[in-house]
Amino acid sequence: MQPRTEKRSLWPRFREDLGVLLWASFLAACVATLLFFACFDPQLLVDDHAPPAWLADRRAGYTVGFFFFWMMSAIASFLTAYLIETRSNGTARELP
Protein backbone atom coordinates (compact mmCIF):
# COMPACT_ATOMS: atom_id res chain seq x y z
CA MET A 1 0.00 0.00 0.00
CA GLN A 2 1.32 3.41 -0.95
CA PRO A 3 1.60 5.85 1.92
CA ARG A 4 -0.57 8.84 1.23
CA THR A 5 1.23 12.06 0.50
CA GLU A 6 0.14 15.67 0.85
CA LYS A 7 -1.20 15.56 -2.71
CA ARG A 8 -4.43 13.95 -1.61
CA SER A 9 -7.43 14.85 -3.67
CA LEU A 10 -10.50 16.29 -1.99
CA TRP A 11 -12.78 14.54 -4.44
CA PRO A 12 -13.24 11.20 -2.60
CA ARG A 13 -14.15 13.00 0.60
CA PHE A 14 -16.56 15.26 -1.24
CA ARG A 15 -18.12 12.29 -3.01
CA GLU A 16 -18.73 10.60 0.32
CA ASP A 17 -20.30 13.74 1.79
CA LEU A 18 -22.43 14.11 -1.32
CA GLY A 19 -23.72 10.58 -0.81
CA VAL A 20 -24.67 11.30 2.78
CA LEU A 21 -26.36 14.60 1.90
CA LEU A 22 -28.36 13.18 -0.97
CA TRP A 23 -29.36 10.13 0.99
CA ALA A 24 -30.49 11.99 4.10
CA SER A 25 -32.50 14.43 1.98
CA PHE A 26 -33.90 11.52 -0.05
CA LEU A 27 -35.29 9.92 3.10
CA ALA A 28 -36.82 13.22 4.20
CA ALA A 29 -38.29 13.72 0.71
CA CYS A 30 -39.87 10.25 0.79
CA VAL A 31 -41.62 11.01 4.06
CA ALA A 32 -42.68 14.47 2.88
CA THR A 33 -44.07 13.08 -0.38
CA LEU A 34 -45.99 10.39 1.46
CA LEU A 35 -47.53 12.80 3.95
CA PHE A 36 -48.23 15.55 1.47
CA PHE A 37 -49.91 13.47 -1.20
CA ALA A 38 -51.88 11.47 1.32
CA CYS A 39 -53.59 14.75 2.18
CA PHE A 40 -53.60 16.57 -1.16
CA ASP A 41 -54.63 15.28 -4.53
CA PRO A 42 -52.44 16.79 -7.29
CA GLN A 43 -55.58 17.18 -9.41
CA LEU A 44 -57.17 19.47 -6.84
CA LEU A 45 -54.04 21.59 -6.61
CA VAL A 46 -54.29 22.70 -10.24
CA ASP A 47 -57.74 24.21 -9.82
CA ASP A 48 -58.11 27.49 -11.71
CA HIS A 49 -55.10 26.52 -13.86
CA ALA A 50 -52.63 28.45 -11.75
CA PRO A 51 -49.84 25.87 -12.14
CA PRO A 52 -49.27 24.41 -15.62
CA ALA A 53 -52.03 22.06 -16.69
CA TRP A 54 -49.73 19.10 -17.36
CA LEU A 55 -49.28 18.81 -13.58
CA ALA A 56 -52.89 17.67 -13.43
CA ASP A 57 -51.71 14.20 -14.48
CA ARG A 58 -51.31 12.65 -11.06
CA ARG A 59 -48.20 10.74 -12.15
CA ALA A 60 -46.59 14.03 -13.12
CA GLY A 61 -47.76 15.69 -9.92
CA TYR A 62 -46.31 12.97 -7.71
CA THR A 63 -43.01 12.88 -9.57
CA VAL A 64 -42.54 16.63 -9.62
CA GLY A 65 -43.63 16.80 -5.98
CA PHE A 66 -41.11 14.19 -4.94
CA PHE A 67 -38.22 15.89 -6.69
CA PHE A 68 -39.30 19.26 -5.37
CA PHE A 69 -39.21 17.91 -1.80
CA TRP A 70 -35.90 16.22 -2.49
CA MET A 71 -34.40 19.43 -3.86
CA MET A 72 -35.62 21.44 -0.87
CA SER A 73 -34.36 18.97 1.71
CA ALA A 74 -31.07 18.66 -0.20
CA ILE A 75 -30.63 22.42 -0.01
CA ALA A 76 -31.24 22.28 3.73
CA SER A 77 -28.77 19.39 4.06
CA PHE A 78 -26.08 21.15 2.04
CA LEU A 79 -26.50 24.35 3.96
CA THR A 80 -26.39 22.55 7.30
CA ALA A 81 -23.30 20.59 6.32
CA TYR A 82 -21.62 23.70 4.94
CA LEU A 83 -22.33 25.78 8.04
CA ILE A 84 -21.12 23.05 10.36
CA GLU A 85 -18.04 22.42 8.24
CA THR A 86 -17.01 26.06 7.97
CA ARG A 87 -17.72 27.33 11.47
CA SER A 88 -14.72 28.41 13.49
CA ASN A 89 -13.57 25.25 15.17
CA GLY A 90 -14.68 26.39 18.58
CA THR A 91 -11.31 26.49 20.30
CA ALA A 92 -12.00 30.04 21.46
CA ARG A 93 -15.15 28.91 23.21
CA GLU A 94 -13.56 25.98 24.96
CA LEU A 95 -12.65 26.39 28.57
CA PRO A 96 -8.94 26.27 29.28
Binding site: M1, P3, R4, T5, E6, R8, P12, R13, E16, G19, V20, W23, A24, L27, L34, F37, A38, C39, D41, D57, R58, R59, A60, Y62, T63
Partner: protein, 464 residues
Protein backbone atom coordinates in the same frame (compact mmCIF):
# COMPACT_ATOMS: atom_id res chain seq x y z
CA UNK B 1 -0.83 -12.15 1.78
CA UNK B 2 -2.57 -10.34 -0.97
CA UNK B 3 -5.55 -8.79 0.77
CA UNK B 4 -7.19 -5.74 -0.72
CA UNK B 5 -7.03 -4.11 2.66
CA UNK B 6 -3.99 -4.60 4.78
CA UNK B 7 -4.56 -5.30 8.44
CA UNK B 8 -2.44 -2.34 9.34
CA UNK B 9 -3.85 1.12 9.60
CA UNK B 10 -3.35 3.15 6.46
CA UNK B 11 -0.48 5.56 6.72
CA UNK B 12 -2.03 8.87 5.87
CA UNK B 13 0.22 11.44 7.50
CA UNK B 14 -1.87 11.77 10.58
CA UNK B 15 -5.00 12.89 8.78
CA UNK B 16 -8.11 11.21 10.14
CA UNK B 17 -9.73 10.70 6.79
CA UNK B 18 -9.01 7.50 4.91
CA UNK B 19 -10.22 7.34 1.34
CA UNK B 20 -12.50 4.46 0.46
CA UNK B 21 -10.79 1.43 -1.04
CA UNK B 22 -12.63 -1.11 -3.11
CA UNK B 23 -13.56 -4.22 -1.15
CA UNK B 24 -13.27 -7.57 -2.90
CA UNK B 25 -15.31 -9.93 -0.73
CA UNK B 26 -14.04 -13.50 -0.88
CA UNK B 27 -16.57 -16.18 -1.76
CA UNK B 28 -17.23 -18.57 1.09
CA UNK B 29 -19.32 -21.65 1.77
CA UNK B 30 -21.12 -22.46 4.97
CA UNK B 31 -24.39 -22.65 6.80
CA UNK B 32 -24.87 -18.90 7.24
CA UNK B 33 -24.04 -18.30 3.60
CA UNK B 34 -26.71 -20.83 2.66
CA UNK B 35 -29.15 -19.03 4.94
CA UNK B 36 -28.31 -15.70 3.32
CA UNK B 37 -28.68 -17.13 -0.19
CA UNK B 38 -32.07 -18.55 0.83
CA UNK B 39 -33.14 -15.19 2.25
CA UNK B 40 -31.97 -13.38 -0.88
CA UNK B 41 -33.86 -15.72 -3.18
CA UNK B 42 -36.99 -15.63 -1.03
CA UNK B 43 -37.11 -11.85 -0.63
CA UNK B 44 -36.16 -10.91 -4.17
CA UNK B 45 -38.38 -13.72 -5.47
CA UNK B 46 -41.29 -12.09 -3.64
CA UNK B 47 -40.37 -8.66 -4.96
CA UNK B 48 -40.27 -9.83 -8.57
CA UNK B 49 -43.24 -12.22 -8.35
CA UNK B 50 -45.85 -10.24 -6.39
CA UNK B 51 -46.80 -7.78 -9.17
CA UNK B 52 -47.74 -10.72 -11.37
CA UNK B 53 -50.28 -12.15 -8.93
CA UNK B 54 -53.98 -11.61 -9.66
CA UNK B 55 -56.85 -11.15 -7.23
CA UNK B 56 -60.39 -11.17 -8.57
CA UNK B 57 -60.25 -8.90 -11.57
CA UNK B 58 -57.28 -6.77 -10.60
CA UNK B 59 -53.59 -7.05 -9.76
CA UNK B 60 -53.25 -8.47 -6.24
CA UNK B 61 -50.87 -5.78 -5.01
CA UNK B 62 -51.22 -2.51 -6.87
CA UNK B 63 -50.55 0.97 -5.59
CA UNK B 64 -52.69 2.73 -8.13
CA UNK B 65 -51.39 6.24 -7.61
CA UNK B 66 -53.16 7.81 -10.63
CA UNK B 67 -56.49 6.62 -9.19
CA UNK B 68 -55.41 7.18 -5.56
CA UNK B 69 -56.34 3.61 -4.58
CA UNK B 70 -54.17 0.90 -3.06
CA UNK B 71 -55.14 -2.71 -3.68
CA UNK B 72 -53.63 -5.23 -1.30
CA UNK B 73 -55.16 -8.60 -2.08
CA UNK B 74 -58.83 -8.40 -1.06
CA UNK B 75 -58.55 -4.96 0.53
CA UNK B 76 -58.79 -1.57 -1.11
CA UNK B 77 -57.29 1.45 0.63
CA UNK B 78 -57.88 5.12 -0.04
CA UNK B 79 -56.02 8.26 1.06
CA UNK B 80 -58.55 8.41 3.92
CA UNK B 81 -56.91 5.27 5.31
CA UNK B 82 -53.59 7.03 5.63
CA UNK B 83 -53.50 6.53 9.38
CA UNK B 84 -53.34 2.78 8.75
CA UNK B 85 -50.19 3.29 6.70
CA UNK B 86 -48.62 5.40 9.45
CA UNK B 87 -49.61 2.71 11.91
CA UNK B 88 -47.94 0.09 9.73
CA UNK B 89 -44.75 2.17 9.57
CA UNK B 90 -44.72 2.46 13.37
CA UNK B 91 -45.09 -1.32 13.60
CA UNK B 92 -42.20 -1.74 11.17
CA UNK B 93 -39.98 0.61 13.17
CA UNK B 94 -40.81 -1.08 16.45
CA UNK B 95 -40.16 -4.52 14.95
CA UNK B 96 -36.73 -3.26 14.00
CA UNK B 97 -36.12 -2.17 17.62
CA UNK B 98 -37.41 -5.48 18.94
CA UNK B 99 -35.37 -7.71 16.66
CA UNK B 100 -32.26 -5.58 17.09
CA UNK B 101 -32.45 -5.81 20.87
CA UNK B 102 -33.06 -9.53 20.62
CA UNK B 103 -30.80 -10.67 17.82
CA UNK B 104 -28.65 -7.76 16.69
CA UNK B 105 -28.40 -6.67 13.09
CA UNK B 106 -30.42 -9.51 11.56
CA UNK B 107 -32.03 -6.93 9.28
CA UNK B 108 -28.70 -5.73 7.88
CA UNK B 109 -27.22 -9.15 7.26
CA UNK B 110 -30.19 -10.91 5.71
CA UNK B 111 -33.11 -8.68 4.83
CA UNK B 112 -32.03 -5.14 3.97
CA UNK B 113 -32.62 -4.40 0.27
CA UNK B 114 -29.12 -2.97 0.12
CA UNK B 115 -27.64 -6.30 1.27
CA UNK B 116 -29.96 -8.41 -0.81
CA UNK B 117 -29.41 -6.59 -4.10
CA UNK B 118 -25.68 -6.29 -3.45
CA UNK B 119 -25.61 -10.07 -3.00
CA UNK B 120 -27.15 -10.57 -6.46
CA UNK B 121 -24.80 -8.04 -8.04
CA UNK B 122 -21.78 -9.75 -6.44
CA UNK B 123 -22.97 -13.07 -7.87
CA UNK B 124 -23.09 -11.54 -11.33
CA UNK B 125 -19.64 -10.10 -10.77
CA UNK B 126 -18.38 -13.57 -9.84
CA UNK B 127 -19.95 -15.22 -12.88
CA UNK B 128 -18.25 -12.79 -15.22
CA UNK B 129 -15.03 -11.73 -13.50
CA UNK B 130 -14.25 -14.82 -11.45
CA UNK B 131 -13.29 -15.24 -7.82
CA UNK B 132 -11.67 -12.72 -5.52
CA UNK B 133 -8.09 -13.28 -6.74
CA UNK B 134 -9.17 -13.15 -10.37
CA UNK B 135 -11.17 -9.97 -9.81
CA UNK B 136 -8.26 -8.22 -8.12
CA UNK B 137 -5.85 -9.32 -10.85
CA UNK B 138 -8.30 -8.20 -13.53
CA UNK B 139 -8.63 -4.74 -11.98
CA UNK B 140 -4.85 -4.33 -11.81
CA UNK B 141 -4.19 -5.59 -15.32
CA UNK B 142 -3.99 -3.18 -18.29
CA UNK B 143 -6.97 -2.94 -20.61
CA UNK B 144 -7.16 -5.82 -23.06
CA UNK B 145 -9.78 -7.60 -25.12
CA UNK B 146 -10.09 -10.18 -22.36
CA UNK B 147 -10.65 -7.53 -19.70
CA UNK B 148 -13.13 -5.66 -21.86
CA UNK B 149 -15.09 -8.83 -22.51
CA UNK B 150 -15.28 -9.67 -18.83
CA UNK B 151 -16.10 -6.14 -17.69
CA UNK B 152 -18.49 -5.67 -20.59
CA UNK B 153 -20.46 -8.81 -19.85
CA UNK B 154 -20.68 -7.82 -16.20
CA UNK B 155 -22.07 -4.42 -17.17
CA UNK B 156 -24.51 -6.09 -19.51
CA UNK B 157 -25.82 -8.35 -16.75
CA UNK B 158 -25.91 -5.52 -14.20
CA UNK B 159 -27.70 -3.07 -16.47
CA UNK B 160 -30.17 -5.66 -17.68
CA UNK B 161 -30.99 -6.75 -14.16
CA UNK B 162 -31.20 -3.17 -12.92
CA UNK B 163 -33.60 -2.24 -15.72
CA UNK B 164 -35.77 -5.25 -14.96
CA UNK B 165 -35.74 -4.21 -11.30
CA UNK B 166 -36.88 -0.71 -12.25
CA UNK B 167 -39.57 -2.20 -14.46
CA UNK B 168 -40.81 -4.39 -11.60
CA UNK B 169 -40.82 -1.41 -9.25
CA UNK B 170 -43.02 0.57 -11.62
CA UNK B 171 -45.16 -2.56 -11.95
CA UNK B 172 -46.31 -1.96 -8.39
CA UNK B 173 -47.83 1.36 -9.46
CA UNK B 174 -48.95 0.73 -13.04
CA UNK B 175 -50.54 -2.67 -13.75
CA UNK B 176 -47.55 -4.77 -14.78
CA UNK B 177 -49.31 -6.56 -17.63
CA UNK B 178 -50.27 -3.22 -19.17
CA UNK B 179 -46.71 -2.05 -18.58
CA UNK B 180 -45.29 -5.13 -20.32
CA UNK B 181 -47.38 -4.65 -23.40
CA UNK B 182 -46.53 -0.97 -23.54
CA UNK B 183 -42.82 -1.87 -23.35
CA UNK B 184 -43.17 -4.27 -26.27
CA UNK B 185 -45.23 -1.87 -28.33
CA UNK B 186 -42.89 1.03 -27.42
CA UNK B 187 -45.77 3.06 -26.01
CA UNK B 188 -44.40 3.42 -22.50
CA UNK B 189 -45.50 6.70 -20.92
CA UNK B 190 -42.88 9.31 -20.13
CA UNK B 191 -43.32 9.14 -16.35
CA UNK B 192 -43.21 5.35 -16.30
CA UNK B 193 -40.06 5.34 -18.43
CA UNK B 194 -38.50 7.93 -16.14
CA UNK B 195 -39.16 5.88 -13.00
CA UNK B 196 -37.97 2.62 -14.61
CA UNK B 197 -34.68 4.34 -15.46
CA UNK B 198 -34.42 6.16 -12.14
CA UNK B 199 -35.06 3.10 -9.98
CA UNK B 200 -32.88 0.98 -12.25
CA UNK B 201 -30.05 3.47 -11.98
CA UNK B 202 -30.40 3.64 -8.19
CA UNK B 203 -30.21 -0.17 -8.01
CA UNK B 204 -27.21 -0.26 -10.33
CA UNK B 205 -25.35 2.41 -8.38
CA UNK B 206 -26.21 1.17 -4.90
CA UNK B 207 -25.73 -2.57 -5.48
CA UNK B 208 -22.96 -2.36 -8.06
CA UNK B 209 -20.76 0.44 -6.77
CA UNK B 210 -21.82 1.95 -3.44
CA UNK B 211 -22.38 -1.35 -1.64
CA UNK B 212 -20.99 -1.32 1.91
CA UNK B 213 -20.40 2.43 1.69
CA UNK B 214 -24.17 2.90 1.97
CA UNK B 215 -24.06 1.03 5.29
CA UNK B 216 -20.95 2.83 6.50
CA UNK B 217 -21.63 6.41 5.47
CA UNK B 218 -25.31 6.71 4.72
CA UNK B 219 -27.39 4.41 6.87
CA UNK B 220 -28.91 6.03 9.98
CA UNK B 221 -29.84 2.66 11.47
CA UNK B 222 -26.17 1.68 11.73
CA UNK B 223 -25.56 4.79 13.82
CA UNK B 224 -28.38 4.53 16.32
CA UNK B 225 -28.50 0.77 16.68
CA UNK B 226 -26.17 0.95 19.66
CA UNK B 227 -29.08 2.50 21.58
CA UNK B 228 -31.00 -0.74 21.15
CA UNK B 229 -28.15 -3.08 21.98
CA UNK B 230 -27.41 -4.38 25.43
CA UNK B 231 -25.07 -7.00 26.80
CA UNK B 232 -27.60 -9.73 26.01
CA UNK B 233 -28.11 -8.87 22.33
CA UNK B 234 -26.88 -11.37 19.77
CA UNK B 235 -23.68 -10.16 18.13
CA UNK B 236 -21.02 -11.70 15.94
CA UNK B 237 -17.78 -11.73 17.81
CA UNK B 238 -14.30 -13.13 17.81
CA UNK B 239 -13.43 -15.06 20.96
CA UNK B 240 -10.31 -13.16 21.96
CA UNK B 241 -9.63 -15.33 24.99
CA UNK B 242 -9.56 -18.44 22.88
CA UNK B 243 -7.91 -17.02 19.77
CA UNK B 244 -5.03 -14.96 21.11
CA UNK B 245 -2.11 -14.86 20.75
CA UNK B 246 -2.71 -15.51 17.08
CA UNK B 247 -0.07 -16.91 14.75
CA UNK B 248 0.55 -19.43 12.00
CA UNK B 249 1.43 -22.98 12.84
CA UNK B 250 1.51 -26.39 11.16
CA UNK B 251 -1.61 -28.49 11.53
CA UNK B 252 0.31 -31.16 13.44
CA UNK B 253 1.66 -28.75 16.06
CA UNK B 254 -0.22 -28.40 19.33
CA UNK B 255 -0.64 -24.63 19.67
CA UNK B 256 -0.13 -24.76 23.43
CA UNK B 257 3.47 -25.88 22.99
CA UNK B 258 4.12 -22.74 20.92
CA UNK B 259 2.16 -20.55 23.34
CA UNK B 260 -0.46 -19.75 20.68
CA UNK B 261 -4.24 -19.41 20.76
CA UNK B 262 -6.59 -20.95 18.20
CA UNK B 263 -6.42 -18.14 15.63
CA UNK B 264 -4.01 -19.13 12.88
CA UNK B 265 -4.07 -15.59 11.44
CA UNK B 266 -5.09 -16.76 7.97
CA UNK B 267 -7.12 -13.52 7.56
CA UNK B 268 -9.88 -15.40 5.74
CA UNK B 269 -12.41 -13.64 7.98
CA UNK B 270 -11.07 -10.28 6.77
CA UNK B 271 -11.10 -11.36 3.12
CA UNK B 272 -14.67 -12.63 3.36
CA UNK B 273 -15.99 -9.45 4.95
CA UNK B 274 -18.16 -7.44 2.52
CA UNK B 275 -17.50 -4.25 4.48
CA UNK B 276 -13.75 -4.87 4.69
CA UNK B 277 -13.33 -4.91 8.47
CA UNK B 278 -11.40 -7.21 10.78
CA UNK B 279 -13.87 -8.84 13.18
CA UNK B 280 -10.97 -9.64 15.51
CA UNK B 281 -10.78 -5.98 16.45
CA UNK B 282 -14.12 -6.28 18.24
CA UNK B 283 -17.66 -5.10 17.56
CA UNK B 284 -17.58 -2.35 14.95
CA UNK B 285 -20.08 0.07 13.50
CA UNK B 286 -19.34 -1.23 10.01
CA UNK B 287 -20.28 -4.83 10.82
CA UNK B 288 -23.57 -5.70 9.11
CA UNK B 289 -23.71 -9.09 10.85
CA UNK B 290 -23.78 -11.08 7.63
CA UNK B 291 -21.88 -13.92 9.33
CA UNK B 292 -19.54 -14.42 6.35
CA UNK B 293 -16.61 -14.37 8.79
CA UNK B 294 -18.22 -17.13 10.86
CA UNK B 295 -18.44 -19.37 7.81
CA UNK B 296 -14.88 -18.51 6.79
CA UNK B 297 -13.48 -19.21 10.25
CA UNK B 298 -15.51 -22.40 10.74
CA UNK B 299 -14.09 -23.82 7.51
CA UNK B 300 -10.57 -23.15 8.78
CA UNK B 301 -11.31 -24.57 12.21
CA UNK B 302 -12.63 -27.73 10.52
CA UNK B 303 -9.44 -28.06 8.49
CA UNK B 304 -7.30 -27.56 11.59
CA UNK B 305 -9.41 -30.02 13.59
CA UNK B 306 -10.19 -27.30 16.14
CA UNK B 307 -13.71 -26.86 17.49
CA UNK B 308 -15.87 -24.42 15.50
CA UNK B 309 -16.94 -21.05 16.85
CA UNK B 310 -13.78 -19.00 17.24
CA UNK B 311 -15.88 -16.37 15.47
CA UNK B 312 -19.54 -16.95 16.35
CA UNK B 313 -22.95 -15.57 17.20
CA UNK B 314 -22.77 -14.79 20.89
CA UNK B 315 -23.56 -12.07 23.41
CA UNK B 316 -21.32 -9.75 25.36
CA UNK B 317 -22.39 -11.49 28.56
CA UNK B 318 -21.54 -14.91 27.17
CA UNK B 319 -18.11 -13.68 26.09
CA UNK B 320 -17.51 -12.44 29.64
CA UNK B 321 -18.68 -15.83 31.00
CA UNK B 322 -21.84 -14.29 32.48
CA UNK B 323 -25.29 -15.81 31.98
CA UNK B 324 -27.25 -14.47 29.00
CA UNK B 325 -30.87 -13.52 29.59
CA UNK B 326 -33.27 -13.56 26.68
CA UNK B 327 -36.25 -12.19 28.64
CA UNK B 328 -35.33 -8.80 30.01
CA UNK B 329 -37.30 -5.60 30.56
CA UNK B 330 -36.34 -4.11 27.19
CA UNK B 331 -37.50 -7.20 25.30
CA UNK B 332 -40.72 -7.46 27.30
CA UNK B 333 -41.57 -3.79 26.76
CA UNK B 334 -40.74 -3.76 23.01
CA UNK B 335 -42.47 -7.12 22.56
CA UNK B 336 -45.70 -6.22 24.33
CA UNK B 337 -46.01 -2.79 22.69
CA UNK B 338 -45.38 -4.43 19.32
CA UNK B 339 -47.99 -7.10 19.96
CA UNK B 340 -50.56 -4.50 21.06
CA UNK B 341 -49.91 -2.43 17.91
CA UNK B 342 -50.23 -5.46 15.63
CA UNK B 343 -53.49 -6.59 17.26
CA UNK B 344 -54.82 -3.03 17.15
CA UNK B 345 -53.90 -2.79 13.48
CA UNK B 346 -55.74 -6.01 12.70
CA UNK B 347 -58.82 -4.78 14.54
CA UNK B 348 -58.69 -1.40 12.82
CA UNK B 349 -58.45 -2.98 9.36
CA UNK B 350 -61.23 -5.46 10.11
CA UNK B 351 -63.56 -2.79 11.51
CA UNK B 352 -62.88 0.08 9.17
CA UNK B 353 -65.91 1.74 7.66
CA UNK B 354 -66.60 0.27 4.25
CA UNK B 355 -68.42 3.32 2.97
CA UNK B 356 -67.27 6.84 3.62
CA UNK B 357 -68.57 10.19 2.56
CA UNK B 358 -66.66 13.41 1.94
CA UNK B 359 -68.35 16.77 1.53
CA UNK B 360 -66.86 19.79 -0.22
CA UNK B 361 -68.67 23.13 -0.31
CA UNK B 362 -69.12 24.76 -3.67
CA UNK B 363 -66.46 27.43 -3.76
CA UNK B 364 -68.18 29.80 -6.14
CA UNK B 365 -71.22 30.92 -4.17
CA UNK B 366 -71.85 31.02 -0.43
CA UNK B 367 -75.61 30.60 -0.83
CA UNK B 368 -78.46 31.22 -3.22
CA UNK B 369 -81.88 32.59 -2.36
CA UNK B 370 -84.68 30.78 -4.15
CA UNK B 371 -87.90 32.43 -5.31
CA UNK B 372 -89.84 31.12 -2.33
CA UNK B 373 -87.29 32.69 0.03
CA UNK B 374 -85.58 29.42 0.97
CA UNK B 375 -81.77 29.35 1.12
CA UNK B 376 -79.82 26.90 -1.01
CA UNK B 377 -76.20 25.72 -0.54
CA UNK B 378 -74.45 23.55 -3.10
CA UNK B 379 -72.00 20.80 -2.17
CA UNK B 380 -69.99 18.14 -3.91
CA UNK B 381 -70.48 14.86 -2.09
CA UNK B 382 -67.98 12.08 -2.68
CA UNK B 383 -69.13 8.53 -2.00
CA UNK B 384 -66.17 6.24 -1.25
CA UNK B 385 -66.96 2.55 -1.42
CA UNK B 386 -64.10 0.46 -0.02
CA UNK B 387 -66.18 -2.70 -0.04
CA UNK B 388 -65.76 -5.55 -2.50
CA UNK B 389 -69.39 -5.18 -3.64
CA UNK B 390 -71.46 -2.34 -5.08
CA UNK B 391 -73.79 -0.31 -2.86
CA UNK B 392 -76.83 1.81 -3.61
CA UNK B 393 -76.59 4.89 -1.45
CA UNK B 394 -79.12 7.55 -0.55
CA UNK B 395 -78.01 10.91 0.79
CA UNK B 396 -79.91 13.04 3.35
CA UNK B 397 -79.16 16.03 5.56
CA UNK B 398 -79.87 16.77 9.24
CA UNK B 399 -79.29 19.65 11.61
CA UNK B 400 -81.78 22.33 10.57
CA UNK B 401 -85.54 21.97 10.74
CA UNK B 402 -87.12 21.54 7.34
CA UNK B 403 -83.93 20.81 5.37
CA UNK B 404 -84.66 19.43 1.94
CA UNK B 405 -82.23 17.86 -0.46
CA UNK B 406 -82.07 17.83 -4.23
CA UNK B 407 -79.75 15.63 -6.25
CA UNK B 408 -79.60 14.44 -9.83
CA UNK B 409 -80.06 10.87 -8.67
CA UNK B 410 -82.04 9.86 -5.61
CA UNK B 411 -80.11 6.64 -5.28
CA UNK B 412 -76.44 6.71 -6.17
CA UNK B 413 -74.95 3.39 -7.18
CA UNK B 414 -71.26 3.09 -6.27
CA UNK B 415 -69.31 0.09 -7.55
CA UNK B 416 -66.84 -1.93 -5.50
CA UNK B 417 -63.71 0.12 -4.74
CA UNK B 418 -65.08 3.15 -6.54
CA UNK B 419 -65.32 6.81 -5.71
CA UNK B 420 -68.26 8.74 -7.15
CA UNK B 421 -68.84 12.48 -6.84
CA UNK B 422 -72.26 14.07 -7.10
CA UNK B 423 -73.56 17.61 -6.81
CA UNK B 424 -76.04 18.00 -3.94
CA UNK B 425 -78.24 21.06 -3.36
CA UNK B 426 -79.50 21.50 0.19
CA UNK B 427 -82.32 23.94 0.99
CA UNK B 428 -83.38 25.41 4.29
CA UNK B 429 -86.78 27.14 4.58
CA UNK B 430 -86.89 30.92 4.93
CA UNK B 431 -85.95 32.08 8.43
CA UNK B 432 -84.90 28.63 9.66
CA UNK B 433 -81.27 29.60 9.95
CA UNK B 434 -79.28 32.81 10.28
CA UNK B 435 -75.56 32.97 9.54
CA UNK B 436 -73.70 29.66 9.48
CA UNK B 437 -74.58 26.35 11.03
CA UNK B 438 -72.98 22.90 10.94
CA UNK B 439 -75.15 20.23 9.43
CA UNK B 440 -74.75 16.47 9.06
CA UNK B 441 -74.73 14.79 5.68
CA UNK B 442 -75.91 11.22 6.11
CA UNK B 443 -75.45 8.47 3.56
CA UNK B 444 -77.44 5.27 3.93
CA UNK B 445 -77.53 2.14 1.86
CA UNK B 446 -80.89 0.96 0.56
CA UNK B 447 -80.94 -1.99 2.96
CA UNK B 448 -80.03 0.30 5.85
CA UNK B 449 -77.00 -1.73 6.79
CA UNK B 450 -74.48 0.95 6.00
CA UNK B 451 -74.52 4.46 7.33
CA UNK B 452 -71.85 7.11 6.93
CA UNK B 453 -71.76 10.68 8.20
CA UNK B 454 -69.89 13.81 7.35
CA UNK B 455 -70.11 17.33 8.72
CA UNK B 456 -70.66 20.32 6.47
CA UNK B 457 -71.17 24.04 6.93
CA UNK B 458 -74.49 25.53 5.86
CA UNK B 459 -74.32 29.25 5.21
CA UNK B 460 -77.28 31.60 5.15
CA UNK B 461 -77.64 35.40 5.28
CA UNK B 462 -77.78 36.90 8.77
CA UNK B 463 -81.39 37.84 9.44
CA UNK B 464 -82.00 41.27 10.85
Amino acid sequence: MNAARSDEAVSNDGALYIAHQKVYPREIEGRFNRLRVAATIALLGLFYAIPWLRWDSHQAVLFDLPARKFYIFGLTFFPQDFFLLSWLLIIAALSLFFFTALAGRLWCGYACPQTVWTEIFVWMERWTEGNRQQRMRLDQSPWSVHKMLRKGSKQLLWIGFALYTGFTFVGYFTPIRVLTSSVFTATLGGWELFWVLFYGFATYGNAGYMREQVCKYMCPYARFQSAMFDRDSLIISYDTKRGEPRGSRARSVDPKTKGLGDCIDCTLCVQACPTGIDIRKGLQLECIACAACIDACDSVMDRMNYPRGLVRYTTQNALDSNPTRVLRPRIVVYGSVLLALIVGFGVAVANRALVEVDVLRDRNALFRRADDGSIENVYTVRFINKDTQAHDLRVSAEGIDGLSIDTDRDVQSVGAGEVVSAAVRIRAPQGAVSGGRTIQIVVKSADGEIEAHSKARFIAPVSR
